[in-house]
Amino acid sequence: MNHTILMSILILSPFIGFLINGFRYKKHNYMVAGSIATAAVFISFISAVLLVADVLGMPAENRRILVSFFEWVGVGNLKVDAAFVVDQISAIMILIITGVGSLIHLFSISYMHHDKGVAKYFAYLNLFIFNMLLLVLGSNLLVMFVGWEGVGLCSYLLIGFWFTDKEKAAAGMKAFITNRVGDAAFLLGMFILFLTFGTLNFAELNALAPTTAEASWLGAVTLGTLFLFIGATGKSAQIPLYVWLPDAMAGPTPVSALIHAATMVTAGVYMIVRLNPLFVMAPNTMAVIAIIGAATAVMAATIGMTQWDIKKVLAYSTVSQLGYMFLACGVGAFGAAMFHLMTHAFFKALMFLGSGSVIHAMHEEQDIRKMGGLKKYMPITHFTFVLGWLAIIGMPPFAGFFSKDEILWQSFSSPYGHPALWAAGALGATLTAFYMTRLMALTFWGQSRVPKNTHPHESDAMMTIPLIVLGILSVIGGWIGIPHVIGEVFGDIPNVWEHWLHPLIREIPIQSEGHHDASLEWTFMAISVGLAAVSAIVAFQMYVRKPGSSEKVADALGPVYKAIYHKYFVDEAYFGVIINPLVRFSRNLWFYVDVNFIDKCTYWVSDVVKGGGSLVRSMQTGNMQQYAMYIGIGLVFVLSILLMR
Amino acid sequence: MGSDAFEITVNCIKLVLVFLLMVQAVPILVWLERRGSGFIQNRFGPNRVGPLGLMQLLADAVKFLTKEEFSPKAATKLLFYAAPVFALIPGTLGFAAIPLGSPLKWGDYTFAIQGYDIGVGIVFILGVSSLAAYTILMAGWGSGNKYALMGALRASAQTISYELALGLSIVGIIMMYGTFNLSEMIAAQQGTMHFQAFGNTIATSWLPNWGIFYQPLAAVLFFAATFAESNRLPFDLAEGEAELVAGFHTEYGGFKMLLFFIGEYGHMMVASGLMATFFLGGYNIPYTTTEQVYQFFLGFVESANAASALTSLAHFIMFTVKLGIFLWIFIWVRWTLPRFRYDQLMDLGWKTMLPWALANTILSALVIFAVSHSW
């Protein structure tokens, strides 16, 4: 079929779903609303598949479908088309978004069936999909930015979906405002890039990117990419702007799965990969990205170890996994980043949905201390959750293993890499294994701490089918990116992934010193897996074999544990250092400038106008004869002028 | 008007004569009406004074003139007295514009036998006769009497309503003759029936070339409308004795009353004259043209002037006869038909006659276009 039509279907079908559900937003029939929304997303999934098939059919060098609908902005030399492009990168993204998206929609139908504003919910969800598609399909930064803002809006709407609860609404606002900070930086980056290269189009930008690395900190490319990266930290919840994501768990669980695990939060990674030629040429930026990524990975993991809310744990794990992705970007392993992005989308969505299923079963109970032993109540959820667990702690041959291992190896071996980075990554992996096992243990294993009045039960098919599908994906998802070293062992399995992304990935300018041989890679692989396994076993021991031992450890750690438990007091610090002073400043601004100066000026103007008006109004008595008199006087006036001439 | 002194004098005399003619016709009509009503109602009319009671006219005149001259207390003097005088105007002016005979050629002068020959005769007559409403209103309001006022309002409303039908009903005639000028219309109705159709002439020898044969519907409508215009039975709602004592001239008596009578009869005469002019060939003698009559008289007397004078005289008599016929019909109808109710009157005017008149107009327009247009 024609690409234009396919593209329009792909983009518009969720939007139409949004319109339909949006217009019937007062309806309570969750089945109708859900089917509409799911169908909309599924349709766009199909068209996405068709498009990707076309892309596959193309020659490897220029796999690119560009559909330009119209010239959107044409100011001076700023020419922005409403153009959408499907290439190797966005192909993956649209598949994830629409595929996982439709699964999550399906899940939501059953999950939200008790909710009043279900139609509204699905409308928001569809709107999100639409914006996300804009984001990933946009052929230039501006269209991408539209999507960027749009997903921010939808995330705000959906986090605060139960806005009657004050702190949920507050969480929504927090997310929105934090994103604003990032978006400002993103805009600045856009401006810098436009000033430097005179275009916002990805293809042109990548073509114009310098061929030699930019040494200085203040070079255009470095600054621009840095600002863009800050924008990415906002959207993708990296230090220092990660604080909103844990609170974002206030939203419905499928939303957390879709927006705050699978798709939206990966937008930053996607953006960096999309512009990798630029980033590669700014080693300083790359260093920053790598460090921040590694730091986030470790820190979030540590916090994750101490949380009691099932969704909070998952949220922090998301943050740390995103940290991995940024680490990968930072060391120039963009392919690995995308790879991990995909696998993470699978297993993290799976785990969120699983947690949703659990919460559903526990009647909106999210505290894992009140769970445990759910294994026998909800086997399917448990089984799929196990798959996700194995994937995330990087057990071969599950999806997570390949992607994470790729990242770790690259963080050591790549020219931008560094042993310290590798160490951080390995530590993060270990911690991840620990807290995920802890989660599993407290939720599903051990003896039940379920309150007497709640009777957990397995969820219905509409919730379990997505779990199963995602479970399968998180098992096999990684097999398309099997490293060479393993591939050689199993009779030379090709690394499809690398070949796939290769045309779009710019080579790192500086050459790596020396060449690492396979044995080293094997060792690292073994080390990371081993560490993960060990920490998993430890966690299993602590939480299943002898429960309560964890408390001893916590007491032993004392203040450190406190600090970690309170998330390093980051929120408090932000409040003390930034937010409260800002609020005070703005209040003064409001009082002294706005009220006492600007308002006074406007009042003065309005008073003048009013006075004039009342003067003129006195002429309007409604007495027709007076009006006639005015006409006559005017006539005389005009005639006299005419006669004087 | 002409420029020659002689002509001017003659014309002025003519005006006076026409006026006198109309005024002196009134007593005769009164007498005729009373006798005729008596005859119709199978009783003697006034038959005591003089032969056939003809002297009754004189007696009436004397009575009218010698009656006490009074005006009611509530009356507005000016209007009360002005109204009867104004009542004369429409009739006289209208009647003076109707040609009473073929133009008299005396030497190199030509005298139209009518008050004045005005180019747009019909329009003029309609205009002046529409002034009649004022007299009625003045009388009604001026005499400060509620019955009078009611009668006046009724009468004027009726007059205005029927003017529409009146005007529209003769549009067909005007289109047919292609002129407003009464003399030209009369000239167009000479001789036997003959007219141009699709480029070839159609002629009959057994019908006079009268308008009524071309526009029968128009004739009926026009005649009915004239009844309403002159406030006569069956349309004399203005003075319906049953409801309003005597309508707008309740308070009037004596000479003022007489003036009103004159006005009403003037109206009748104008109406009859117009009927004759439009539909019965005016002063033409049936089946003949003016020229034929002139030649006929030229056979007796040799002088052209005398022949022309005789022709005019014959035509004048002919016209008077036709006039008389219509006047008699007026009287006859008055004593034959009952009075309408007011809503019936208005319905007749607006819902019956007006649509018919319109239809007649459109139809005759189409026909005239089709016929005059030689395909």
């Binding site: 309007q620 008595t621 409604g622 007495n623 027709m624 004869q625 006639a628 008199m629 006559g632 | -």
Partner: protein
């Protein structure tokens, strides 16, 4: 007639030769009279009559022009003016009647109630 005589002394020409501008001046004066009526009378119906007066003054000038410019368009315009005037009179009288129904008086000042 005396007025005419007085002007006779001044100049005969302007009296004996009646031209376009005589009619125009007449129409101007008539128009102004009507305007005065509109301005100073209070009875709504009299106001409307004054308006009719103004319209007719204009009609005079139309017809005069149509004669002296030897074009008939002026008279056509007079037609239109008459029609409009009749319509205006009908509406005005209807309004006056409805005002009268309420106030038993047709003073222009009652129309001030219509002011928005």
């Amino acid at each position: 007639m005396r007025a005419v005589k007085v002007e006779h002394m001044l100049s005969t020409d302007i009296i004996t030769h009646v031209g376009l501008n005589h009619y125009l001046v007449l129409s101007a004066l008539l128009f102004v009279t009507g305007m005065a009526g509109v301005l100073i009378r209070r009875n709504v119906i009299v106001l409307m009559m004054s308006i009719e007066l103004m319209l007719n003054a204009v009609n005079i000038s139309f017809v005069a022009f149509s004669k002296y410019l030897d074009k008939l368009d002026g008279q056509v315009l007079v037609f239109f003016v008459m029609t409009i005037a009749a319509a205006e009179a009908a509406v005005g009288l209807a309004i006056a009647v409805s005002i009268f129904k309420r106030y038993k008086e047709v003073n222009i000042r009652f129309f001030e109630h219509l002011k928005g």
